[in-house]
Symmetry: C2
Subunit: 204 residues, 2 copies
């Protein structure tokens, strides 16, 4: 690591700015998740960082923009998970399984949690539109992974729409109950849930 001079150059200043922006965003999303969006004021967020409200406006803009940024980050993590699963070898079911496992894990994390806990009515009409659009992308990707698994015979021919909603619902829920400080790791929990979901529970 380079010792940074007390006279930062452009790139360093840029990076510092970005770091501050990120810190504000993280503080905000954590508070939104802990107390709920409406029960969190920007003054609270600012206070938790020892700064003032206008500073948040300086880095991120209105409360609506802050929330949109949070959910966008979460949804981008999901999009990345789609791409990664798509790149994997193996049957359609194996790829679906890989995606679902990443999906739960994102939902257990700060920004993914926020995606689940945010209803579109909390955002302004325009941001809500953007939010719904991104969510639709994920849903479409999930459905096509299901379709492909059925097509190559690695998955039983179930109703694609119902399966997508059922899987998504089950795997969204940890956003509400999973405790990162609990005994089981996120990964182990994720795998157990996905295997139950795909395998069912009728005795063999």
């Amino acid at each position: 690591m380079m010792t940074s001079s007390p006279f930062p150059d452009g790139a360093q200043r840029q990076a510092a700015r970005q770091a501050k922006r990120d810190a504000v965003l993280l503080a905000a999303v954590r508070m939104f998740n802990a107390r709920g969006f409406h029960a969190t004021s920007l003054d609270d967020v600012a206070a938790s960082l020892g700064i003032s409200k206008p500073t948040i406006y300086h880095y991120l803009g209105t409360k609506d923009q802050v929330l949109l940024e949070c959910v966008t980050l979460g949804l981008n993590q999901l999009l990345d998970a789609v791409a990664e699963a798509r790149g994997k070898p193996g049957t359609g079911l194996a790829r679906l399984r890989a995606f679902l496992i990443s999906y739960v894990q994102v939902n257990m994390d700060d920004f993914g949690r926020c995606v689940i806990r945010t209803g579109d009515e909390m955002l302004s009409p325009e941001s809500g539109k953007r939010f719904r659009h991104l969510k639709r992308e994920i849903d479409t990707a999930l459905r096509s992974l299901i379709r492909e698994a059925i097509a190559d015979g690695s998955m039983a021919p179930v109703d694609e729409r119902i399966a997508a909603f059922t899987f998504a619902g089950a795997l969204n829920w940890p956003a509400r109950w999973f405790d990162p400080d609990g005994p089981k790791t996120a990964e182990a929990t994720a795998e157990q849930m996905v295997d139950l979901l795909l395998g069912g529970c009728t005795p063999r």
Copy 2:
């Protein structure tokens, strides 16, 4: 049906009062579900019924009490479903299946939807406590139904906690997406979801 006299007796007045109370509650829960609790003012609810805000206070009390009443109704429907499933004959799995099917259907309806869409942070501390208590009862019942199904061998020996969360999550989600005016009935959708959940989707 008896023709009601223009001079109602005590019982009739009591019934009329109850009917008004119910109407207010229904209007409120529908609006909460459509726009979100925070985006709904009691003035809006009152206006939708052609009455004024103090009338709502007369029948139901504060906004917090209105919401608590809504979720309590929803949770009581779930408690009824538990009792009904418990009374059924058949294997543990059959009883579990019966409960899960009722469970989804409640979640597709006005008050059940509200239970799902309400986070405990939306209620006052005391009401939140009551809310969590009732939810815990349902969770406990679900877990014991699972435990019993495993005990009598009709269900594979899965982790009870994980299964409860997975099932509940999957079956809570319709509160967000199910459209009662859509093509498929609530009952058919419910059965499809539950069968997928219990049976899994690996090819046979």
